[in-house]
Symmetry: C2
Amino acid sequence: MIVGTEWLVEAEECNENLLRDEKLLRTVFSRIISDLGLKTLGEPLWHKFGGAGGVTGLVMLTESHLACHTYPEHRVATFNLYCCRTRPEWNWEENLKEILNASEVRITKIERGAKPKSKIQDPKSQTAGGEI
Amino acid sequence: MIVGTEWLVEAEECNENLLRDEKLLRTVFSRIISDLGLKTLGEPLWHKFGGAGGVTGLVMLTESHLACHTYPEHRVATFNLYCCRTRPEWNWEENLKEILNASEVRITKIERGAKPKSKIQDPKSQTAGGEI
């Protein structure tokens, strides 16, 4: 039973200073949420690690969740977007190259709940039941 | 560059009433966090969808994050555990069969940041930099 689609996104060779910029990463979340017409639930969780550390962001959505973790020491940012209803594609590659100066962006889509679990190119996710 | 390991877990044919039990799902999180020696950051986010809907839980960890979404209408629960430092294996299969009455539990491990992205059997994740 497919219950949703998850995008696992890796952005590499980013500008390390941008990966420490919580405000900038919040704007990435805002753009994803706005562009895809997602709905947040409750307050987002953000944490900036001390020193030269990166940033973690987590937000609960009626469609599931969105997460990011940045690793300035490796110039890497990873994102998870889990949606239990069909949403358009977000242009991760173009947007993360523009916003984080990533030189490479790789995307893996996984059907959650699918059997066998598989990487997919054109998933049909479905709306989860239940009122908000 | 491998920056962490993510476990994607699907529990199927669960007891649907247990998938609506936020308190029970909170105890699943507590057990995972305790058994693996994880450290939470901030307050966890929990949401019980109305009517016959399921539960969403999200918690930020110093090691990355833990998430669950339940779909009582499909008797499915999915979990994500993302860790940027090496942790022991949690016995998802035994524990979710016991706690949620799942009849099948499937686990996919993915190295985050890895190139090419691959499903792995015995990943070596690494500690992310930065003080808390």
